[in-house]
């Protein structure tokens, strides 16, 4: 493996409930995320990412603010977006926010850019979904320019032009690692390589190994564009508890409820216990189980996908803060050492 093995966590700020099922406030859920990020650092997790969302069940529109609180209380863990919806944001502001966070954290920032499969930010900020492709094309290209440091000259249709513009704060030690989240579109893989971003494969359903050609495509495309190899990251949802039964028992009802909510908006099928079992099994995309079960699956899929980094999207609306803290502790103290052992 050309790049070091790394294991991280992502959250969407999934709304926490009390143990008796009472929903906690958005504010309490956000304070819980800070505690979760601090614990992730304590138990040796490599990365803590926050994904932008704008709903009651994911009340997390300003992840960079939450990340700065985590950065101030930690020394080692990397922090960043997972993902930030660049299409409905201003690349200059995104760069400035994360460059500021990079300063606060002494260079621990990584940014994962996405076009957003949750598109509630488009109407919120006055963007037209009909411009979905053009917005992402232009804004990723501008972000790549900003990362080079130095004055920026840029012209496009989606924001005001820049001419020799000094954009602060300057980067202290070169560009921070930046990834593009890709869901299953080979043209997006080639774009990531063309712009020199690393590849984050979001695998949330079906057999993970069907993404293996994407890693090979990414490597070939980097080569074609005359770039050095770059790392590949896998993002998938899951939940770790002491036993498989506990993990499934806690996760399944919350997963069904959340996907049912999203299904209503997007028209796809509500998961059944059968489809859930298959996703939790060795050929599915969910990492739900005991530390041993989850570690085995991570190690096998990193190998199959030619990836060096796995980021578990932990939590689900309705789970308790206590259950998430236990998940994080088990992931750091048991899953990660076991994956390293299996990969060695």
């Amino acid at each position: 493996m050309a790049f070091p093995l790394q294991l991280g966590l992502h959250t969407f700020g999934d709304l926490n409930h009390e143990p008796d099922g009472t929903p906690q406030s958005h504010a309490q859920t956000i304070r819980n995320v800070v505690e979760q990020g601090v614990l992730a650092d304590e138990v040796g997790i490599d990365f803590f990412g926050i994904g932008e969302h704008h709903t009651d069940y994911f009340p997390m529109p300003a992840g960079d603010v939450v990340l700065s609180a985590i950065a101030a209380r930690t020394r080692r863990i990397h922090v960043g977006s997972s993902v930030i919806v660049l299409s409905s944001d201003d690349p200059v502001r995104v760069f400035q926010r994360y460059s500021t966070l990079n300063a606060i954290s002494n260079g621990r920032v990584e940014v994962i850019l996405g076009r957003g499969s949750s598109i509630e930010s488009f109407p919120l900020f006055g963007y037209d979904l009909a411009d979905y492709d053009e917005l992402f094309d232009e804004k990723t290209a501008l972000f790549a320019e900003l990362l080079k440091g130095g004055p920026v000259t840029w012209q496009g249709r989606t924001r005001a032009a820049l001419r020799d513009q000094n954009v602060v704060p300057h980067l202290e030690s070169g560009p921070f690692p930046t990834w593009i989240g890709v869901g299953g579109n080979p043209e997006s893989v080639v774009r990531a390589a063309r712009l020199g971003f690393s590849l984050a494969l979001a695998i949330i359903g079906g057999p993970p190994e069907r993404f293996a050609p994407f890693s090979r495509l990414f490597a070939a495309a980097l080569d074609k564009f005359g770039r050095s190899p770059l790392p590949v990251l896998v993002h998938s949802p899951g939940h770790v508890a002491p036993t498989d039964e506990e993990a499934r028992g806690e996760f399944w009802p919350r997963w069904r409820e959340t996907i049912a909510l999203i299904s209503e908006e997007r028209g796809f099928a509500i998961p059944t216990e059968d489809s859930f079992s298959s996703e939790v099994g060795p050929r599915g995309a969910l990492y739900v189980g005991s530390p041993e079960t989850v570690a085995q699956k991570i190690a096998a899929n990193l190998r199959a996908l030619g990836a060096n980094r796995f980021d578990l999207k932990f939590g689900m609306p309705g789970l308790t803060h206590e259950s998430l803290m236990r998940n994080i502790e088990l992931y750091g103290t048991q899953v990660i050492p076991r994956v390293r052992e299996l990969a060695a």
Binding site: G184, E187, F214
Partner: protein
């Protein structure tokens, strides 16, 4: 149609490469195109769709027996209808207001997305299929004829001969074709419908469609209450 049909797949995003690979596995000749220069698709073709040929859309369509539309519906709005004049066209697209934007023509009177596509392509013959099973499931569940694990794909179209031809294609790709009627009846295959996003056997598929048509849940042969609730 020649003995080994030639397929032109328009779209190299999520769905197009999956359909192209299924067709290649069936022994067909497959050309793939997006809206631009085929040189940009060479790498994708080589690594993700080995065996297919990247071409300009017009060239791919000219030499094809069947054209598959596998592009986002909002991109279809920019497609020149003359490109597919006189062609048999499989419409594998769906209308997603959340990523296509709201299309007034489809919000009125519940018009189906394939009826809308057919209206925009008056000189082509449009058949709806391959839209209601997730692209990540399509390859996973393809099976040879008579396999007990074979699953169904709905087919809808207003031209009987075209529907028969496409049903034969679906069979070769690894699915039991179930003809649900004309494009208007084909609305049952859309997002939010009873077969959308679920992978069903022919019997389950036919039952789901029947429930939608009659509003009655007929018990399936040999079904026990436990199976039903599972």
């Amino acid at each position: 149609m020649s003995a080994s049909p030639r397929l032109a797949v328009l779209g190299a995003g999520h769905v197009g490469p999956v359909i192209a690979r299924l067709a290649l596995a069936a022994g067909w000749s497959v050309a793939i195109a997006n809206s631009g220069d085929p040189a940009q698709l060479e790498l994708i073709t080589e690594l993700v769709i080995p065996g297919a040929t990247p071409r300009w859309a017009a060239d791919a369509v000219r030499d094809a027996d069947i054209v598959v539309l596998a592009i986002p519906l909002h991109r279809f709005l920019r497609l020149d209808p003359r490109l597919v004049s006189g062609r048999l066209v499989i419409d594998a697209m769906n209308y997603w207001p959340s990523s296509d934007g709201v299309l007034e023509a489809l919000e009125r009177d519940g018009v189906g997305s394939s009826e809308f596509v057919a209206q925009r392509l008056p000189d082509a013959t449009v058949v709806k299929t391959l839209n209601h099973v997730g692209y990540h499931d399509l390859e996973e569940h393809a099976r040879p004829p008579h396999s007990p694990e074979r699953r169904a794909l709905g087919v809808a179209g207003d031209d009987g001969a075209a529907v028969d031809a496409v049903a034969a294609v679906i069979d070769r790709l690894g699915y039991d074709p179930v003809v649900v009627g004309g494009l208007t009846q084909g609305r049952v295959l859309q997002p939010g419908g009873p077969v959308f996003g679920v992978v069903l056997s022919r019997a389950e598929f036919e039952r789901a469609i029947r429930v939608r048509a009659t509003g009655v849940h007929p018990p399936a042969a040999g079904e026990t209450p436990q199976e039903r609730s599972a």
